[in-house]
Amino acid sequence: MYKYFPHTEDDLQVMMERVGVKNLDELYAQIPESIRFRGDYQIPSALTEEGVRQMFATLGSQNKQLTCFAGYGVYDHTTPSVIPSLLQRSEFLTSYTPYQAEISQGTLHYIFEYQSMMAEMTGLDISNASMYDGTTAAAEAMMMAVAAGKKVNKVLVSGGLNPKTREVLDTYALHQGIELVTIPLKDGVTDLAALTSQLSTLDGVAGVMVQQPNVYGIVEDFTGFAEACHEKKALFIMSSVIADLAVLKTPGEWGADIAVGDGQSLGIPMQFGGPYVGYMCCTEKLIRKMPGRIVGMTKDNRDQRAFVLTLQAREQHIRRQKATSNICSNQSLMALWVTVYLSLMGKQGVKEAAQLSYAGAHYLCDELLKTGRFHLIYDQPFFNEFYVKYDGDVDALYQRFIDAGFLGGVKFDGGILFAVTEKRNKVEIDNLVKIAAL
């Protein structure tokens, strides 16, 4: 007997008799012998629960625990203990997509709350039920713009987009036959003049995508962008760090048609790359072009307010090859994660966390500049992440950070991008600066 299989010998006998087989092997009598798998899988023998724990403890000890000053799209924010505890409620954890609304109101309610909160954060009208992550949400937005644009297949992408996102966009674009054109940066920010000229010289642009803050942590000024796009019937798409939108001018205020990004900055652990959650919001006008699941309000036959998956006619299981996307699921449990996070932090908390992150990053930047060994590569306003050049051996510096227990930013193109969140205290920052000053 095994703990996950309840079948006793007696059970097996009775059940096989009902089915009309003499042994379990006969259940597969129809399978040609030439392709049957006989023998044993070459995988480890079964471990007890204690054995599994030991195995993971050993593996865990081979990871170095570092105090994180890295960002680049993934941030080390505080996680309130309430969240993991509530997410372990098995009614949430072990349920499927809420097709049966009658016994899924829990999931449907929180997705409705999630959609409401994302719309509030981005300043746009509506949100879908979530996507896999920020990069795939950006890819979906790109495809949505092309689908909405009818017979146009060019999308302009700011050079300020994180290269990780761009790489995923390139993958989707290649297979979709979408032409991606880069909008150059000027002094570290998207060049509006270049965009305007691209919009007028390129024939048929479906969408324009920018990132806020951009890959260098710079808070860009998008005045005039939406107007330039709309004049040429292109959709304006903004990819933003959602936590920063607690205080920053929203995609809605900038005139964006679609807002996408990752929800990870709302207290989701970094866990080596996932799971996170992608968000996608848009204007009401575009609701039926939006990919993914959407939860809507309705009534039941007892006249109670109820929630249900809606606008399903857009989706893959009905539209098949004509669907706007092949996405089936959402990232439901991670959507619950950010919903609980935003419920706890509330109106004030998200602002306070953003303000602290901003202050910590500016303090670190000032202290690093004071050492005389660093300078800012672009003289532009930043939020909680900044890109500096180190006057010395960057690799050696980076290793010194690690030896002292710090993940000292992310190195790329000869510079270092440091990020600070509300989780980093002054002592940690001062210690990092001491090492940097050596």
């Binding site: 989707y172 790359g273 309705t298």
Partner: protein
């Protein structure tokens, strides 16, 4: 599960000034965010204390049904037990706190885990390499098709843009192909639901030089094993195409048959089906893609890092727990459970295709159609008895499809109780059809008005408030 509707929204519990968090003060000096950067108005988020939040979501959870609540025979979804040890392992801080940009020599444990999981999956599927970048089954499908497209492109074989898909396939298959820029050709099914080999042959003869791949599940969506798979694979390979295995139905194959041995070149696995990771109300899942030797260089970049690493940890804990001894019992026990239900109900429910099934099977509604009770009604009535409904109206081959998949974790007693209830519903359909047609009665809400929701979409709280004005 509580059958009284809780029904509140967190916004309705908000009171100005309340907080549910604790943050440190600012010890960094005066660094204020300039007004020019700021949004004009605060996001209208709720303001709640911690207990209010905890109670709210606990109450919401009580209006939800999960595998831990009761039997969940949802066909094609493989709602197996999600072991608790997996959750414990996935929550270890030594993994949770890893930034994906951390240098390799500081993440050795995590990377070892990934490569060990890869080796296990290779052994279980008979393929050579896996990429873990895809976040879900559909994402895996897309990744697999992109891999195939990249392979053909690399050979300058640009005409291969068609993918053969059985007409019984899940809608995701054609949708994934379309997103990959490929065109679908549907191959017909025979009356028994398996691929019509002659129709396939005709397609290959006519369009062989344009075929990029054939996508299949095996067993197929009816739970039937495609016994001619070696011939089908040979036919596709001979015309220069690749065989894609949709891993949605991998579970009954554990211990029985490996996709690589069947002749498949590329596949995805739904870790949230076969490898016991929780469905989480619709995600996160994981859809790692495996390939035959030589195809790994064509993997596309569909996500930035290691996919849903947290999900992979759970799957690895599951594989370690089962080990080589027990993993091979998964398929046979899941198959026995499905056949047991099928044989116990086929006198009252219409079984369109006789014979042994694998992990799941499809009824075409009640045998007695005179009562007017539909598959939808049966499904809704099951909710009254404390069961999740089976998958309904899929596959599209039958009008009243009712697709049942029990998984290997369910005991004979659970199955017997379910069988008894299904028989009782069949009886009620004759004696008290209105009771069944108006079901469910014992759930937090009754049947919902889908038309209202779709015609006049209200998808945020703000829209709800605007609508009330």
């Amino acid at each position: 599960m509580n059958n009284r509707l809780y029904g509140k929204l967190i916004f309705e519990l908000s009171k100005e000034g309340r907080v549910g968090y604790s943050l440190p003060g600012n010890f960094f000096g005066e660094y204020d965010i300039p007004a020019s950067m700021r949004r004009a108005e605060d996001a209208k988020l709720p303001e709640c204390d911690e207990l209010t939040v905890v109670r709210h979501y606990t109450n919401l959870s009580n209006n939800n049904f999960g595998v831990d609540t009761g039997f969940y025979p949802l066909g094609s979804c493989t709602m197996k037990y999600n072991p608790k040890i997996n959750e414990e392992m996935a929550s270890l801080p030594q993994f949770q706190n890893l930034h994906p940009e951390q240098p390799a020599d500081t993440t050795e444990g995590a990377r070892t885990l990934v490569s060990k999981l890869e080796r296990s999956l290779c052994e279980l599927t008979g393929l050579a390499h896996f990429t873990f970048k895809p976040y879900a089954g559909a994402h895996g499908e897309l990744t697999g098709l992109m891999t195939i497209d990249n392979y053909h492109r690399s050979r300058g074989d640009m005409a291969r843009k068609k993918v053969i898909v059985p007409d019984s396939a899940h809608g995701t298959n054609p949708a994934s192909a379309a997103v990959c820029g490929l065109e679908i050709i549907e191959v017909k099914s025979l009356a028994d639901g398996t691929v019509d080999y002659d129709d396939l042959k005709r397609i290959v003869e006519e369009q062989g030089s344009e075929i990029a791949a054939m996508m299949m599940t095996n067993p197929n969506t009816l739970g039937l094993f495609e016994t001619r798979i070696p011939e089908i694979a040979a036919l596709i390979h001979d015309c220069g195409g690749l065989m894609y295995y949709d891993g949605a139905n991998l579970n009954p194959m554990l211990g029985v048959c490996r996709p690589g041995d069947m002749g498949f070149d590329v596949m995805h696995i739904n870790l949230h089906k076969t490898f016991s990771t929780p469905h989480g109300g619709g995600g996160p899942g994981a859809g790692p893609v495996g390939v035959r030797e030589g195809l790994q260089e064509f993997f596309p970049v569909v996500s930035p890092y290691n996919g849903n690493f947290g999900v992979m940890m759970r799957a690895y804990a599951y594989i370690l727990s089962l080990g080589s001894e027990y993993v091979k019992e998964v398929g046979p026990l899941a198959t026995l459970n499905a056949n047991y239900i099928k044989e116990s109900l086929k006198d009252v429910y219409e079984l369109p295709i006789e014979g042994l099934c694998c992990h799941e099977f499809v009824f075409d509604g009640l045998k007695d159609k005179s009562t007017g009770v539909t598959t939808m009604d049966v499904a809704k009535r099951l909710l009254d008895y404390g069961y999740h409904a089976p998958t309904i109206y899929f596959p599209l081959l039958f009008h009243e499809s009712l697709m049942i998949e029990p998984t290997e974790n369910e005991s004979k007693e659970t199955l017997d109780e379910f069988i008894a209830v299904m028989r009782q519903i069949a009886e009620e359909a004759k004696t008290n059809p209105d009771e069944v047609k108006s079901a469910p009665h014992n759930t937090p809400i009754g049947r919902v008005d889908d038309v209202l929701a779709a015609k006049h979409p209200i998808v945020t709280y703000q829209q709800m408030l605007n609508d009330q004005d």
